[in-house]
């Protein structure tokens, strides 16, 4: 598919997901509201990274850098929360 068309489809799906995430906020599922919103955001983020930022067409070094960034973020969050919530 030519990139312009691919971008247009991606935008369409992103708008549908935006409508979905706003719509989901009107349904009360208690604690799950945030989880659902975050799942939709993650899908949106994946589309932006893969199509708009062309991660799938980038070299190995760029892909590695992307995952390194996520890995460091995971360290930041998991170690801090692990410490924070295990204090008495």
């Amino acid at each position: 598919m030519n990139p312009t068309k691919q971008n247009a489809w991606t935008l369409f799906v992103l708008f549908v997901l935006l409508a979905g995430t706003v719509g989901a906020a009107y349904v009360d599922v208690g604690k799950w509201n945030t989880a659902i919103a975050m799942m939709i955001s993650t899908v949106k983020a994946a589309l932006i990274v893969l199509v708009f930022m062309k991660l799938h067409r980038s070299g190995h070094l760029v892909v590695l850098t992307f995952f390194a960034g996520l890995f460091w973020l995971a360290i930041l969050i998991s170690l801090t929360l692990g410490d924070f919530f295990s204090r008495s």
Binding site: P3, N7, Y26, T65, W72, L81, F84
Partner: protein
Amino acid sequence: MSEHATPLAHQFEEPVQQQEAATLGMWIFLATEVLLFGGLFLAYIIYREQAPLAFSEASGKTMLVPGTINTAILLLSSYFVANAVHLTALGRRREVVLLLLEAILLAMAFLIIKGFEYHHKIEEGLFPGANFHFAGTQARGVQMFFVLYFAMTGLHALHVAVGATILGVCAVKILFSRYPARLATMVDVSGLYWHFVDLVWVFLFPLFYLISHRS
């Protein structure tokens, strides 16, 4: 030299290497940006855990319609920039400049709407500090929510302003360049930054605007 090739800086062996180095540099910078915003998201998680009810109540005070419009604005601007990146490589000067201008106008609209929201919050007495005013038992937690709201959306708005400026520089350079296709790498890495700004907002939006049950 062909009109499509970017002039080669002396430290590089070949154009592909030069282009890859620029892209990699931007991705590494973006990884550090992830950690900058990551620290703030971490603060959000901890404070929300301590005052879940206050956060839910405070979230109901944010303006859903402007927030949703702003999300759509950034997604649309990312689409324009993605197309601009593609067309720059083909040397389509006119279309690229127009697309970049459209993206910049959308960025300005985003900032104006954000400013309108900030103004509204300040008028309501929800700006944290001495003039903070919130009736109810959750006032402390609500104030913390708005500390994070202003800090995170403020830092993000700064990124929007910087991103729009970078896109503006790209547009001007392409407009006056003899061979616009040579600027493909510049537009490409600028685009990466712009998409990252969009990406951060995709997470900010639900965490601030959508956590209280709307009805």
